[in-house]
Subunit: 231 residues, 2 copies
DNA sequence: CGCTCGATGTCGCTG
DNA sequence: CAGCGACGTCGAGCG
């Protein structure tokens, strides 16, 4: 990894065109050739960048550029598209290189996939006597998170979100509309399950006859741990 | 901006929980207090981070941590939530600070608006005899990209996307519902136009009587260039 | 390789 | 401040 702090200007062309006027920034060149241009604030997102796979070619400035104070021009070209990032370096304030090695990567916990897995295992949370049909039950517009049967044999479609927003209710509504066209399934009941359900989503869900179910992730994981520990 | 290259481990708790095992990484501390943890590859996104506003507190390791080789612990706490990032530094390989100043920011020029402009100019792409009424035709829930009239005088509402997804069909459906309440306009026909239309979106659109139109951006731009060149 | 969907999404605009 | 749409969305998982 190479770290350069420099006064620089940049231009990106590709899916859009964007310009960065002359200012002092951090330029990071990673081992895979990717380049990041960071300002001293904002957020984790760079002002501009090039994703791997890409190649970096360093060029001397032409007379015109040299006259503008450019000491080096970096051409960063994406390998599989015509995306291009051009950086004009005017003054290099810091330049260092470091061997970092391969990163073992981030281990996440508590994302939607976990919730889905846990609810599938603890399907009784939908109510006593419910039975799992399958996870990711396919429809023409995409898979429903969970399809289950209630004690009376009626189909139940479950949409799971970490945070229950209106979007999720809309999504579930579309699934229900399609599933209810299947004579073998209809009538299909809808359950909107999330760790936290926004009031608006709750209202909309209720309006459409969809049941809301708040999931307690910690408790569900506790159950999972318990069962794992037992066997 | 402070740049630290160090062997470190990290843990994030907040909207989810995530862990980073011990490895050598770049730690960036920006002027606004935000922190980025980058590996030597991947993409522009850090492995882990804390967005501003947040505060950084440096602590000495306790005996247990010191025994594990920790030389310093950074507690990064978000100011407005309980999001928290904890970084254990095991070995600092580089540490430098730099004054960058304020960044003038990125100037963008997008493709999205261009598509709308081109289709408005080449409204015949909707079918021979179509006439533009106006771009950004206002409704109570926001402007429709294009309103046109077909040769029979019927209203046509067009939603334009670069990538045609289900969301866009939903959006157009809402517009159509509102537009069709206007007795001067109804019945309004819907056209979903995009450079690329996903199969699911196509199914949903067809289901709702909405026409799909694939736009050839290059060809449309070519037409534009040609007309520009001629006059 | 393409497609779909989630995301600590983030960003920016508007009411 | 909230809501909503766009993003150079990115990235994982699956067929």
């Amino acid at each position: 990894m190479r770290l350069v702090v420099a006064r620089c200007a940049a231009r990106y062309t590709g899916r859009l065109t964007a310009e960065l006027p002359l200012a002092t920034r951090l330029v990071v060149v990673k081992a895979d050739g990717s380049v990041l241009l960071h300002s001293d604030g904002g957020s984790y997102k760079p002002l501009n960048w090039m994703s791997p796979p890409c190649s970096l070619a360093v060029a001397e400035p032409d007379d015109d550029a040299a006259a503008r104070g450019v000491v080096e021009i970096w051409h960063v070209q994406h390998a599989k598209s015509d995306d291009r990032l051009e950086i004009e370096l005017h003054e290099v304030l810091h330049d260092s290189a470091h061997e970092l090695g391969v990163d073992p990567g981030l281990v996440k916990d508590g994302v939607e996939a976990h919730l889905q897995k846990l609810l599938a295992e603890q399907i009784h949370l939908l109510g006593a006597g419910h039975v799992l049909v399958r996870r990711e039950y396919p429809t023409a517009i995409g898979p429903v998170d969970i399809l289950a049967k209630d004690p009376a044999g009626g189909a139940v479609a479950v949409e799971i979100k970490r945070r229950g927003d209106i979007d999720g209710v809309e999504q579930l509504t579309r699934y229900l509309e399609l599933l209810n066209r299947d004579p073998h399934l209809t009538p299909v009941r809808g359950v909107f399950a999330a760790q936290e359900i926004k009031p608006q989503a709750r209202v909309l869900a209720h309006d459409r006859g969809i049941t809301c179910l708040v999931l307690d992730y910690e408790a569900m994981r506790g159950m999972d741990d318990a069962s794992t520990r037992l066997f």
